[in-house]
């Protein structure tokens, strides 16, 4: 029903293409006409002499000559001016349960109108969406979906929020920001699913127009970030700190990859860092890895590993620790830290029951942090 509702909505607005919007994960390696890319001036860059520019959006600080493209593959220097090639050019648009992101303390049981463009500013060897994230703008089918249409489609389909997700929304910052402004005008909320590899200034600006951020913390070691992410850990930790100190809701996801980032000591260190820097109330999700992209030689994460890491986090007194990508696992539920009652019961991406009263435990009235309405 949801897919039908979605398709009908898009068809009504005239931007459902023949290829089938929303089906991009089963993509075809067809090229799009590069003329269909956007040519909107990017934000957060510095002009230098001789038509060179310096991108200030993410910690990579790409320095680019004329005609060169950033690491992300979707921002280009043309004649000394920096452009985003993906403004309003969605490669994916779907209605998803908010639990898919996952957000467990943000509008549970609601749908999020979820969009992405091509591109990413890191290159995780285990990327689960590499067919759309690790490609250049013209290498993935995309369609016109300007910010005003994003908000309109979200409203029309009964979504409570717009999610910027699937790839890395940092690289389509301008599109995300303007869509968030439009969504707010319609009374919708905005949530961002990101690796957190972004500079402080754009992040600070983004936090003014969004309501929730989920950061994928890939590991708690710089050498892992260098080897498997092609990024830096410290800027991500700084982003986590910054979001936690804002009014925007934050959740952390940690994809557990067997032998690569599942050392118990690392998890303990991470939890202690979280407790000290962002508090024990931030939800922490340990999610299950599936072999993908350039890491196909490892098995899916054993459920026992996820459980044991969750135990460590609970020992370190994190209040809300979840296990993800294991439908039916009891650690999908939210439990009251005081009386241990189940306050939200889930199965996979579905909310089965909610036992809360005005943001508090239905049994003992202990306040459960989050955005609930």
């Amino acid at each position: 029903m949801k897919r039908r509702r979605f398709c009908e909505t898009l068809a009504g607005t005239g931007f459902l293409l023949g290829t089938g919007a929303g089906a991009t994960l089963n993509r075809v390696w067809a090229f799009q006409n590069t003329a269909n890319l956007s040519h909107v001036e990017a934000r957060y860059y510095k002009k230098h002499p001789d038509r060179e520019i310096e991108c200030l959006l993410c910690p990579r600080i790409c320095k680019l000559g004329d005609k060169e493209r950033g690491y992300c593959g979707v921002r280009q220097n043309d004649g000394g001016t920096y452009y985003t090639l993906v403004y309003g050019k969605a490669c994916s648009a779907n209605i998803d349960p908010i639990e898919k992101k996952p957000f467990f303390h943000f509008l549970p049981g609601t749908d999020a109108f979820s969009i992405a463009t091509a591109g990413c500013n890191v290159n995780c060897k285990f990327c689960q969406n590499w067919q759309i994230s690790q490609v250049r703008a013209e290498q993935v089918p995309h369609f016109d979906l300007p910010p005003v249409e994003v908000a309109a489609a979200a409203e029309r389909t009964g979504c409570r929020s717009v999610a910027y997700t699937y790839t890395e929304p940092t690289v389509f910052f301008e599109y995300m920001y303007d869509s968030a402004v439009e969504a707010r005008r319609k009374g919708l909320k905005n949530c961002v699913v990101t690796a957190g590899h972004i500079q402080p200034e754009p992040l600070q600006d983004l936090l003014k127009v969004v309501d929730a951020v989920k950061i994928d913390l890939k590991a708690f070691r710089q050498d892992f970030y260098k080897e498997y992410v092609r990024g830096e850990l410290q800027p991500v930790l700084e982003s986590i700190r910054m979001v936690s100190r804002s009014k925007v809701w934050l959740e952390i996801v940690y994809l557990v990859i067997p032998t690569l980032n599942d050392a118990e000591q690392d998890i303990r260190s991470m939890c202690r860092w979280m407790a000290k820097e962002i508090g024990r109330d931030i939800p922490l999700h340990f999610t299950r890895f599936q072999p993908m992209y350039l890491v196909k030689n490892l098995p899916p994460t054993p459920i026992s590993t996820l459980e044991s890491l969750r135990d460590i986090a609970i020992q370190e007194e994190m209040h809300y620790v979840y296990v993800g990508n294991v439908p039916g696992h009891s650690a999908e539920n939210t439990y009251c830290p005081r009386c241990r009652s189940t306050v939200i019961e889930r199965f996979g991406m579905q909310v089965k029951a909610v036992a809360m009263n005005k943001g508090a435990c239905g049994s003992c009235q202990y306040p459960i942090p989050g955005i609930w309405a």
């Binding site: 090229f31 590069t34 493209r69 992300c72 593959g73 290498q139 092609r230 992209y293 350039l294």
Partner: protein, 298 residues
């Protein structure tokens, strides 16, 4: 160990005052280059020693810089003409790069005729990229099907340029245009990525020859075109050793920089360190003592 041979041909008057290329002169330069490189008396004989009759030959050019600083059509078409004249079927030769727009912007007329010389890019309908990621050391990329499927022998006919990140872009880095995600390989002066990509089977197993288009050399502020730092050098560089060809191209850039009073690439902390990595991987020779340079003029 024998030294790697690199042939440098200078063409007097190959560029006229208006900047146009003399195609006849380019053909003469190519012929002389092949003779000197192979030791053959005739260019055709030299070519025959490099390419078996009937092979599908890819001429990978670099057209990202537009008309002013891309592999020149006069050069690549002359090379294709020489191959055809010496017995290669024209339908088996493709001059190619990443996108048809870039080819057109660089002055090429496109052709994907099954019976004639082909000039087209990876984004041509029916070409495209592989769907399976090719993984080798630090490389994880989709190859252009032109490189992986169509061609059986490859010539890197690259434009020689200064490069802000890599130091120098020439024959080896030219193959960045054979994959879908070159933007992922510009960290650390493109090292070890250029060398490791070249070491990948679809390139290393097919690469036969490097020819550097140094007719006009962007020796500073590359890879984009800047008139004030573009020298009409009128030179072509040939080698069977891809590392040695690029090393000699690097030296030419350093000579021009020195002549113009610019700091060396080392002083600017952007030496093409990938060449040393390539040598360590056994792809060729980089040191001056390991390279025999044969210079000639026409």
């Amino acid at each position: 160990m024998n030294r790697s041979k690199v042939v440098v041909i200078k063409g007097k008057g190959v560029i006229d005052p208006a900047g146009d290329m003399a195609r006849t002169k380019i053909v003469q330069m190519l012929s002389l280059g092949f003779r000197n490189l192979t030791g053959a008396r005739e260019a055709g004989e030299g070519l025959a020693s490099l390419f078996a009759r009937g092979e599908r030959i890819g001429i990978k050019i670099n057209t990202i810089g537009g008309r002013k600083i891309s592999t020149r059509p006069e050069l690549s078409l002359s090379l294709a003409g020489l191959l055809i004249k010496n017995g290669q079927p024209d339908k088996n030769i493709v001059i190619w790069d990443r996108t048809n727009r870039e080819l057109r912007d660089a002055g090429y007329s496109l052709s994907d005729s099954p019976t004639a010389l082909k000039v087209f890019a990876t984004d041509t309908s029916g070409a495209g990229y592989e769907t399976e990621v090719f993984s080798h050391r630090n490389i994880g990329s989709l190859f252009s099907t032109i490189q992986s499927n169509f061609v059986t022998a490859s010539i890197s006919l690259a434009i020689l340029k200064d490069h802000g990140l890599a130091g120098v872009t020439a024959g080896m880095k030219n193959y960045f245009g054979a994959i879908h995600n070159p933007n992922k390989y510009h960290d650390s002066h493109c090292d070890p990525f250029i060398a490791e990509l070249f070491e990948s089977g679809p390139i290393k197993d097919k690469h036969r020859l490097s020819i550097l288009d140094a007719l006009v050399v962007q020796y500073h502020r590359g890879p984009s075109f800047h008139t004030q730092w573009a020298e009409r050098s009128g030179t072509l560089i040939f080698s069977l050793d891809p590392v040695a060809a690029d090393a000699v191209g690097w030296r030419l850039i350093e000579e021009l920089r020195s002549k113009k009073g610019l700091p060396s690439l080392k002083e600017e902390d952007r030496e093409p360190v990938y060449l040393s990595t390539a040598e360590k991987l056994g792809l060729g020779r980089v040191g001056a003592d390991s390279i025999e340079v044969i210079e000639d003029e026409i």
